[in-house]
Symmetry: none
Subunit: 113 residues, 4 copies
DNA sequence: GTGGTCTAGACCACC
DNA sequence: GTGGTCTAGACCACA
């Protein structure tokens, strides 16, 4: 995994994990790698993974069983879609539409619709 | 003006200024507010405005007359459109399309086309 | 049984057992479940139950007959009451009183007295 | 400031700050010490203070002005009281009442009411 | 100057 | 074994 320059690594890993969950590479209700394991896999400090896991825990996408490890939450997939969809529709889309109109780009030119 | 969480303030102000130029609220060849004035209007440190102005100067969108102030460049509008259009089509659009397909959002749902 | 976030599970189980003893659900002098049995009932690792039992053994509330199992001690109820009463009055109560006064909660509002 | 053994330092500092806000030692809308400054005052690593501040930011008790520092939120006092009151009434009080009844302690004995 | 992120390494409680 | 906390120190972007 190689990291983009300007976005925090822990968030990029978070995005990556969300993708893994959506594609069911990491299925719901199953255990995910420990912070140390994933850290060494990705060549990243375990603390950074811990930060990713805390972030995903706050979003109710994973949860911790003490002494055992982190697990993908039940319904994680639908939560991820909901979060990302909401953010896209409420925050990104309006900016996109505004920008396209300012730049004189018509949707029909760039989307096949 | 209220600022997005994760994007540098000076770039958000830059975007805002480009918009003003495109809508001709700030017409070409005319003087724009001093860093102090704009800073206090926006509730932002003048240094931050300075950084915005430097950034726009590098893009040949505004220019400085020493002792007088900053002016919108002749042809600024077409330069802005060119820069942003290129960037939008090459960098942003592909990501948008990918994301929309991942989230199952169809262009026809959100664009009137 | 669901567990509090910040208190060790083995202590929460310990509290739960004390309650069972006080209510005589688990009577004095009688055998209590094996670590395996209780562990699987509570969905918890047997090691954790073992730790609970060790803890209660140290307090002379239960005792072990090798090869047979753990038993509630004679006089267990009075020991529990003594231990917990002391701790409650000396350590917990002052904090509770301080907090209630800080938060403006009057005893008469929440206790029927 | 000296720290309790079994509670994370960053949470103890958080509690301490909440007290300071409630007593208006740190008034609403005003800047609070930088992570480095408070860290060296308390003999604690700045990262630990950062963690405290993140925690308080999540609770909307403080907020960050980029490049400037952290500020006590408007309405911080009432938010703190609300949070602590809710937690006390919903989580702690039921346990207290249960424990007191199990131990045969009557409210009238320990509260002046 | 500010916070934010990251690393390396340590220690601990808990399961 | 697991996570959780903490330190020391570094580097960076931003205001």
């Amino acid at each position: 995994m190689d990291f983009n320059e300007h976005k925090p690594i822990y968030l990029q890993i978070s995005d990556n994990i969300c993708e893994k969950i959506l594609t069911e590479e990491w299925p719901e209700d199953e255990r995910i790698p420990s912070v140390r394991e994933l850290g060494s896999n990705l060549g990243v400090n375990p603390n950074t993974i811990m930060r990713t896991y805390e972030h995903l825990e706050n979003l109710d996408i994973i949860s911790n069983k003490r002494g055992v490890g982190f697990f993908v939450e039940n319904e994680a997939k639908s939560k991820i879609v909901k979060i990302q969809r909401d953010q896209f529709l409420k925050e990104e889309l309006p900016l996109i539409i505004k920008k396209m109109s300012l730049l004189g780009i018509k949707p029909s030119e760039v989307f096949n619709c």
